[in-house]
Symmetry: C2
């Protein structure tokens, strides 16, 4: 398929396809003698993925990192898309409710506080959680919070134990250097563990680490295993991510 055919099929502009080619996000599999771009079926599948992510507000840079990452699992990604779209719809419903409330408010039927006027827009209570849900989906967030939701009974317990083991191991090491070999091995386990359920790019992993210290609720949960563990993990995850990239 040539550019315009693709553009018309998916409802985007030719320029957008050119742009994605330029930045290496979606490079067509072939070209004609005249230098025309030719898109394969695989290209279309990738494009679909790209548009899903775009719909969710990811930057093209992140999208590129995600779909190119070695651990990228299309199946898991799709399931993540699903839960994130559901989240987005919940948000839309909140806004919708706010509009409806406001309509009744202007008719003088009810009163509204300033808080209520901005419900749906307002993420101020849990900014990082909202961001995290946007980035990594519900499951990952719940997991990091120690919830391990939505997994059948038996398995859930086993996972919880595996998780705690890693936390305990890291807690023992938390007074040494985050870059030390032992610490990096343990944090590598953590990375692997997270990747058994979702798919994490090194960048996402690094971001998750930041969240551990930026969001008090995360910090509190993690520091149960030893004060300062969250900070220690954040630093170790940073080092780990750096090394993964090169």
């Amino acid at each position: 398929m040539k550019v315009k055919e693709v553009a018309d099929l998916v409802g985007i502009s030719v320029r957008t396809l050119h742009h994605y080619d330029e930045i290496g996000l979606l490079v067509p599999d072939g070209t004609t003698e005249a230098g025309y771009r030719v898109y394969s079926d695989d290209n279309l599948e990738l494009l679909q993925q790209i548009l899903f992510y775009r719909e969710l507000g990811f930057s093209l840079k992140s999208i590129k990192a995600i779909v190119n990452s070695a651990g990228f699992d299309r199946q898991k990604a799709l399931e993540m898309h699903r839960s994130m779209l559901l989240e987005k719809r919940r948000r839309l419903d909140d806004i919708l409710a706010t509009v409806e409330q406001t309509i009744r408010h202007t008719k003088g039927e009810i009163s509204m506080t300033n808080q209520e006027k901005f419900k749906g827009f307002d993420f101020s209570h849990h900014p990082y959680e909202e961001e995290a849900r946007q980035r990594w989906g519900d499951e990952a967030v719940d997991r990091s919070k120690g919830k391990l939701a939505a997994k059948p009974g038996q398995e859930q317990e086993a996972l919880g134990e595996a998780m705690n083991d890693i936390y305990r191991k890291l807690a023992e090491l938390r007074h040494g250097s985050p870059a030390a070999e032992e610490a990096q091995a343990a944090i590598g386990e953590w990375y692997a563990f997270l990747n058994t359920l979702g798919s994490y790019t090194p960048e996402a992993f690094r971001g998750l680490g930041h969240m551990y210290v930026d969001d008090e609720r995360f910090t509190a949960n993690i520091d149960k295993f030893g004060t300062g563990l969250a900070m220690f993990m954040k630093e170790a995850m940073e080092v780990f991510a750096d090394r993964q990239i090169r």
Copy 2:
């Protein structure tokens, strides 16, 4: 309320508020001696409106034009927001369905055409209609198509007759100049008529005119009253909009 308080309340950045001030979209009602911005309750209501429009993908320029327009009716605007949010949710549901289909597809349970893979993203079938719904809401579009939906029986008939009267009047004038006094008077009636149900800025009115000729389905419907009427109306609406602005 000072900048940061507002920013935290609604979940946007301080820079965004500065920006809205810069472009004259949301100028705070007061300033302290020190030059600090002070936002009133009215400012907050306007901000809420702005965010509704932004959520629907309007550009800040359009938003400014809309909320500043003389004919701006908050009540009607809110009802428009509601139907547009519903439309957006329908779109989100389409994408969600596509994701779910794709999940089953990758599991080999079902097969999918290329068309199906991009459902929800694809507006190629009705680009102008989609755009119009985004711009003016469901009602306005249906009305222009001659549907006059969602109005109780009696009233609907009366409105339909009023509409046809104007069409017939314009059809008679369509071989003269669109800028002629009679034509402008008739198109003024059309503008007033549309404003009895929704709220149209001159810019929106101009855009609607363009749609009459850009979208064949609109053209066909209008030209039933006389060939070339759609084009004539577009030109008359353009002139009318220009004069309204000055």
